[in-house]
């Protein structure tokens, strides 16, 4: 009999996936974060390169964190030291204050409140606003003289609006806009930010929300409507930094101060165009920008166009080192989460099998975790676990539990009841029944649960990119922002291949643990 071998196999599986994780935290290191859109990444990269050029500090980049809440929590809890933020976002989303006031009032309010509440410092504004605006393709105006949002109100009831999820929900977005202008659309379609332009150009939607520095405004023939009733609050870009970081490295204040008023909206639109449409990386554009501002110490500016329009294979080949690293990160995250999932869920299933009365409620409770949206789960965890690998693994671990617990419990409970009865009647102890009868007979069912969890985990690991834990989600998220299918596929295809490989491997294990005679 190979019962011992099966245990060894499970243990080996667990240790195979427990790959070493990167070390955390050291002194003299500045962690720069950004949100998951291009301009935020570019500004963060500009901060990072400027600090690298003018100090001896090591800079760690945590770019592409999912949204304001994740970024801000990361900053507040010290998981990052610095990230680019907008005064309007600070006022409305973080301070939850009404979207009013001009640019100076907004800056002064957030500056004072952030210092008082969290010792977070707004640095000198960078000189441009990236505010919300409404835009309409010129072809949809039918020649009508459409210049302001007030003009739009008259024809809006026959138009379809396509807006980002955040815009639809923010008080300084659609709800407030509707109230201020009395604006109503025929239909409102929630859309991913990067897809709206294409949808508008294709005539799927008529009106969209845009950011005023969006690079695509340079190429798409859209009318950006004037906010004639000054509804949208000012969104001045600025660095937001921890007071404790400034206290430790006071020079950072003056070095980052070099960027005060360095940009205007037109410049930013062009830089964003290079990122969004030209497919250049934030590193390259940031270096060119700093070089043009003569802020780098040497003159090492080198522009390397990225050949990613040459097709998927060529692009993947040019990025092979990065993709390999992303793949290893992806496997480590998924493997670690799945391994921990097995370590907890299988014993829990065994325990529940001995306590039938609580089993169903407990399993149903664990099942509920599957319904928590991943971004929400990550946002809950940042105050406790910060950002990076740890919260990503914990989130993935939580998602992996349900299929394993469910299958372990059901597999044990339903394993050959007649054989279990006979074993008990002939004098096996409950432990022997578990070890010799239930577990071997339930092993294929348990492994099927592990297999399901494995595929789910590998798929879900793409979300790790939202909290700076890397993995193949990074190119997927980046590609989505750039609306660049090549970049998306460079992450999505390896991720799908990994899922298939894991499924195949665990399928083999499942066959292997199936006892003979069954």
């Amino acid at each position: 009999m190979t019962r011992g071998l099966h245990s060894v196999c499970l243990v080996a599986l667990v240790f195979f996936v427990l790959l070493p994780s990167p070390a955390f935290s050291q002194e003299d290191r500045i962690v720069v974060g950004s949100k998951n859109f291009m301009e935020s990444k570019l500004l963060a990269e500009i901060f990072a390169q400027l600090i690298e050029a003018r100090t001896d500090l090591a800079v760690e980049r945590r770019l592409g964190l999912a949204g304001t809440q994740v970024c801000f929590e990361a900053l507040r809890t010290g998981a990052i030291d610095l990230y680019p933020e907008y005064t309007g976002t600070g006022l409305v989303s973080i301070l939850q204050q009404p979207p009013t006031g001009d640019a100076r009032t907004a800056l002064n309010v957030v500056r004072a409140e952030f210092l008082k509440r969290w010792d977070l410092w707004w640095l000198s504004p960078l000189g441009f606003e990236n505010a919300y605006a409404l835009a309409i393709p010129r072809s949809r105006t039918d020649g009508a003289p459409l210049r302001t949002i007030s003009d739009l109100v008259k024809i809006a009831p026959s138009l379809t609006g396509g807006f980002g999820y955040e815009f639809i929900n923010r008080p300084d977005g659609l709800p407030g806009l509707e109230t201020r202008y009395g604006l109503t659309f025929q239909r409102v379609q929630a859309m991913q930010q990067s897809l709206k332009y294409q949808a508008a150009a294709a005539g799927e939607i008529d009106v969209l929300d845009v950011y005023t520095t969006d690079g695509r405004l340079a190429v798409y023939d859209f009318v950006v409507l004037e906010d004639d009733r000054q509804f949208f609050p000012p969104y001045e870009a600025s660095g937001l930094i921890r007071g404790s970081t400034l206290a430790e490295h006071p020079e950072l204040g003056s070095i980052l101060g070099l960027l005060a008023n360095a940009f205007d909206a037109g410049t930013m639109r062009q830089l964003n165009y290079r990122l969004q449409e030209g497919g250049e990386s934030p590193e390259v554009v940031a270096r060119d920008t700093l070089s043009a501002l003569h802020l780098l110490t040497g003159d090492e500016a080198v522009t390397q166009p990225v050949p990613h329009r040459d097709g998927l294979l060529a692009y993947a080949w040019s990025k092979r080192t990065t993709l390999m690293r992303r793949t290893i990160e992806h496997l480590s995250l998924a493997g670690l989460a799945l391994g921990l999932g097995i370590l907890v869920a299988v014993p829990l299933g065994l325990l529940l099998e001995r306590h039938h009365t609580v089993a169903e409620p407990v399993i149903r409770g664990i099942g509920l975790t599957q319904t928590i949206p991943s971004i929400a789960l990550l946002a809950f965890m940042i105050p406790v676990f910060g950002i990076g690998m740890l919260p990503a693994v914990i989130a993935l671990w939580i998602y992996s539990l349900f299929p394993i617990v469910r299958n372990t419990y059901s597999g044990l409970r339903d394993a050959a009841p007649q054989a279990v009865d006979a074993a008990r009647a002939l004098g096996m102890t409950e432990w022997q029944i578990l070890h010799w009868v239930r577990l071997p007979l339930a092993a294929p069912v348990i492994m099927a649960g592990v297999r399901t969890a494995g595929v789910i985990t590998v798929g879900t690991t793409t979300l790790a990119a939202f909290i700076g834990a890397g993995g193949l989600g990074v190119p997927i998220v980046a590609g989505l922002q750039m609306a660049n299918t090549t970049v998306i596929l460079s992450g999505a295809l390896p991720s799908a291949a990994l899922a298939l490989m894991i499924d195949g491997f665990l399928g083999r294990v499942e066959t292997w643990v199936r006892p003979r005679g069954v």
């Binding site: 009647a425 004098g427 010799w436 007979l441 005679g517």
Partner: protein, 250 residues
Amino acid sequence: MNPSALSIRDVSKEFSPGVRVLTHVDLEVVQGETLILIGESGSGKTTLLRMFNGLTHPSSGEVCIHGEPIQVKDPIDLRRHVGYVQQDAGLLPHWTVEENVGLVALLLGWEPERRTSRVHELLDLVQLDPQQFRARYPIELSGGQRQRVAFARALAADPAIVLLDEPFGALDAITRHELQRQFLGLKQRLKKTMVMVTHDVDEALRLGDRIAVLKDGHLLQTGTATDLLNAPAHDYIVQLLRHRSHGDHS
């Protein structure tokens, strides 16, 4: 009269309040006899059988084995020394015939050599060629072969008492008849105390030294086949005996 092997005194059983499956049952099984518990589904016969090896406990009353109350015994040790055969054999599907038959010996910590020779002896006893069958899995056996393996497994540690829960119930008529014939042969040779549950009157009359008739949790009558035929204590027994096939009573 032989001494008592098993006795049941004033036993009642309720699985939950109001759901009574046995009512004030008294029963004596003497050493070396084969006692048949007969009744229809829900009569309480299997519940009664499972009290003899502590798989079920009475709500009130006393169960004794060799004169000792069963509660004072270690249930695990007790079960290792009482044979048990169930309707669908209950073989461990992932264990070979040899491993299944050697199960109790394994639990009792016998040396492997002793186990193997005992397994071969038992397979011979139930007329299965050890060389041909020992390495097979239950799925590779016919229903009758599985039942013989289960019987061999029950006898492994040479228990004085063997409990059988409808051991031939799931077999076709021809196989059942053949196994009953073998069972009678073994019964003569082994002189074990056996308690067998069945709902088949012919089987009861053919195999039992004495027969206990149960209905709705009440024990109606206990006696030999002749007692039951000549002096049925209850209308139900008259009806029950009417169901037997003719000329099959040996």
